[in-house]
Every structure is written in C-alpha cells, then in structure tokens.
C-alpha cells in the first residue's frame, strides 16, 4: 500500500496532464458531435427526399464503422489524400463524427416527440420555420433528448480513451506509457480507472441536474 502511494505521487502529475487532454478532447468532440448531430437530424427530417435519404445513409455508415477504425482512417489515411491533422485534431474530429450519428437520432426523436399541433399553432401566429424551431420545437424537444444526452456525455468521456490508439496524449495513453516503462501495471491502471471515474461523477451530476431543470413543466 505504501509503495502504491509513493508510486502514485510520482505518476499523478503525468497522469494529470493526460486528464486535461482527455477533458479537452471530450469537450471538443462533444461540441462537434452536437452540432453535426443537429444538422443530420434536420436533414433527416427534411421534406426533401434527397436530403433525408442522404442523412439516413450517412448515419448508417457512421454507425456501422467502429470508432477505432474511423480514427485510423482520419489519422492514417487522410494524409495520403493531402489532409494532415494533428493527433488531437484527428481524435476529436473522429470522435465527433462517430458520435454525431447517435446524437442525430436523439435529436430526431426529441423533435418528433413534439405535438404537430404545436407547430400549427406557431404557424398560425405567423412564425417562420427558424423561429418555430427556436421558440417552440427545441424548448420542448430538449426534455426528450436531455436524458440520453447526459448518457452520451459520459460515454464520450470514456470513449475518448480510444484516441490513445492514434497517439493522442490523453489519460489512457499517459497510463500506457508509464506502465510500459515502469511495469507497475496495477498501480498505473488503478489510478487511470479512478481518474476516469472521478471525471465522470461531475458529468453524472450535471446530467441529473439538466434533466431536472428541463424536465419540469
């Protein structure tokens, strides 16, 4: 136990750096996946067949390919096509795109859960589509998609560890490097696991709070 604490003291500053990268990576990927997911959801719900079918095809492709493979593709294949990204950029873009498919389905479910009568009432007041979306649909859809959104945040935090495979210096990668040079697997990965858990707790709390704030009538 004493050696664990001693080692922990040595390792934590390094792992702490990894935590910061993990948080940055999660936030960037979350933002991107939210924006893209929202765009896919709107396309999916479009009255124009071309757009909705395009969105369905896109979502199906993204969902059907492992996140790890998507990251490899962006980091290792795109440079052959002349697009060079840093490991961090490739990581958050890959995670953002991979998660956008799930976000899209959540948003779509939320938007479709709004009573069509609400849209007609807004139309009859003379509101235009953009305003109806902002003032009438989204405030009501939010209640449906926030609970799954909370889950998505927590999953995103954990799945950001996949970016270690393309050398992003996040928490898991930091752990791997220390473990490889010290062979103290037990200490290192226990710390890594505890740090992920510690980071997920505030998110769990936030998800709970959001759900309560928007869930009330």
């Amino acid at each position: 136990m004493q050696s664990f604490l001693r080692d922990a003291q040595d390792f934590l500053p390094i792992l702490w750096q990894g935590c910061i990268v993990t948080i940055e990576l999660t936030l960037c990927a979350l933002l991107l996946s939210t924006l893209l997911g929202f765009v896919w959801a709107l396309l999916r719900l479009s009255a124009l067949r071309v757009l909705s079918w395009g969105a369905i095809a896109l979502i199906t492709v993204i969902r059907g390919i492992p996140i790890l493979v998507q990251l490899f593709y962006i980091y290792f294949v795109l440079p052959d096509l002349g697009i060079r990204l840093s490991a961090f950029q490739a990581g958050f873009i890959g995670l953002g795109i991979a998660y956008s498919a799930y976000q899209a389905e959540n948003f779509r479910a939320g938007i479709q859960a709004v009573d069509p009568g609400q849209i007609e009432a807004a139309q009859s007041l003379g509101m235009r589509p953009g305003m109806i979306m902002r003032r009438v649909i989204l405030p009501q859809a939010v209640r449906v998609f926030l609970p799954p959104y909370g889950n998505t945040m927590i999953m995103m935090l954990k799945d950001s560890s996949i970016a270690s495979a393309i050398t992003v210096a996040e928490l898991t990668r930091g752990g791997q490097l220390i473990a490889a040079s010290t062979f103290k697997n037990m200490t290192v990965f226990t710390l890594v696991a505890l740090l992920y858990l510690a980071m997920s707790l505030p998110l769990t709390y936030l998800a709970h709070r959001l759900e309560r704030a928007f869930g009330r009538k």
């Binding site: 009573d115 009568g117 609400q118 007609e120 009432a121 807004a122 139309q123 009859s124 007041l125 003379g126 509101m127 235009r128 305003m131 003032r135 009438v136 405030p139 009501q140 009538k217």
Partner: protein
C-alpha cells in the same frame, strides 16, 4: 373579406373539398356544420394556409392565400386560429403564450405586449391565471387563453376549429360566452362547430358541409329550423338527438 372560390382538394381518389365557395364579409359570423369527415376542418385549415389545396382560390382582403407562397407568414399573422385541442405552448405561462406572437412576430416591445396580454386575459376571465402553465389550467381555461393568444395579434378575422369539442360539457359555456362577446364586438369569425345553440344565436349565416360540398347555406334560422335538404335534416336530427 374572406373569399373562397371553387376550392377543391383530394387525397388520391377521395375528394375532401369539392368546389367549395364561401364569402365572409367584415364583421360577419359564419358557422360551418356537418358530419365528421365532411371537410369542415380542412376548409378552415386551407383558409389559414396550414394546408395545401389543389384547385380554386382563397383570398383574404384580396390577397391570395397559398401555403407555398412567401407571403403566407404575413397572412397568417393577420388571421387568428383557435384549435380544437387548444395547442397552447406547454413550456410557457398563460401570459407568455399570449405575448409570444406580438413579441416575436409583430416585434412589439415586451412592455407593450405584456400590458396587452394582461388586458386580454382579463377580458377572457383569466386575470387570476397569468402565471399558470397550460397543464395547470382546465380545458375551458386553456381554450380561453388560446382565444386571447389569437386576439393578441389583432387579427382581421378568427377561425375556430371545433373550439368546444374537446371540453367537458360544463366548461363549454365559458368559452362560448367569450366567443359571443367577440361576435358582438364585430369580430369576423368563421366557426366550425357542433354547438347548434351557438350557431342559432350568434351566426349570421350557417353552411352545411357534407362530402366536401356545401349542401346548404342560409341564415341560421333557415338551416337549423327549416332545412331543405334531406342530408341536412338527417344530420341535424342526429346532432340534436331527440331520443
């Protein structure tokens, strides 16, 4: 003011509206009655540009109403609509519901919109419920908020789509009373309804619609007391249910 000429609409082979004509003058109250599926609601929804129609023309003060036109938003803001199921915004209070249109469509200042909304909610008898959410109101109260919401746009006319059909019987009276007040104040109204008493008392004209056609049209007295057509008589008998 509202001019419906030879309007037709079909879903495949099923004709929902079949050459409907209707002229509503300023300040007039017209009731539309008819069995369910006769096209009454569809007609009303076409007048507000909520639905597409295949043939004919609809105009409000000479301006063509077409769902596909860019001008439809402005036109809708000039004609109020009250729905069978109220369709109040559940995430906003009664006051906010009534302020929504004036603030976000007419760009009135919040202060002015608030003042107007309070006055309108008082007018429909809900001065005590300004901060209540729709879920906290009875159906009759919700429908009166919906009427206030339509009035807040200072519309040229209001279309009522079976405004009392979703209400418990004891709540119908309050809503009809508000509508009667509006009629007496000279509001132009087109009312799809099953309330024959209201039609008899308030409507200047009554239309009987069946299978998408205007079967009979006349004063409330003519249609309700002395219907000429078999189908009108048949319908009235069913509605009035003299056991």
């Amino acid at each position: 003011m509202i001019s419906v000429r030879n309007v037709g609409k079909a879903y495949g082979a099923h004709r929902v509206l079949d050459g409907v004509n209707l002229e509503v003058a300023k300040g007039e109250v017209v009731c539309i009655i008819g069995p369910s599926g006769s096209g009454k609601s569809t007609l009303l929804r076409c007048i507000n540009g909520l639905e597409h129609y295949d043939q004919g023309s609809i105009a409000i003060d000479g301006e063509s109403v077409r769902r596909e036109h860019k001008s439809i938003h402005a036109l809708r803001s000039e004609v109020g609509m009250v729905f069978q199921r109220f369709n109040l915004f559940p995430h906003r209070t009664a006051l906010q519901n009534v302020m929504e249109g004036p603030v976000y469509v007419k760009r009135l200042t919040r202060g002015a919109a608030r003042e107007q909304a309070i006055a309108l909610l008082e007018k429909v008898g809900l001065a005590a419920k300004l901060d209540a959410y729709p879920a906290q109101l009875s159906g009759g109260q919700q429908q009166r908020v919906a009427i206030a919401r339509a009035l807040a746009m200072q519309p040229k006319a209001i279309l009522f789509d079976e405004p009392t059909s979703a209400l418990d019987p004891e709540l119908v009276g309050d809503v009809l009373k508000v509508m009667l007040t509006l009629a007496l104040e000279g509001m132009t109204m087109v009312v799809v309804t099953h309330e024959m008493g209201f039609a008899a008392e308030v409507a200047r004209r009554v239309l009987f619609l069946d299978h998408g056609r205007v079967v009979e049209e006349g004063t409330a007295r003519q249609i309700l007391a002395e219907p000429r057509h078999e189908r009108t008589r048949d319908f009235l008998q069913r509605v009035l249910r003299p056991v």
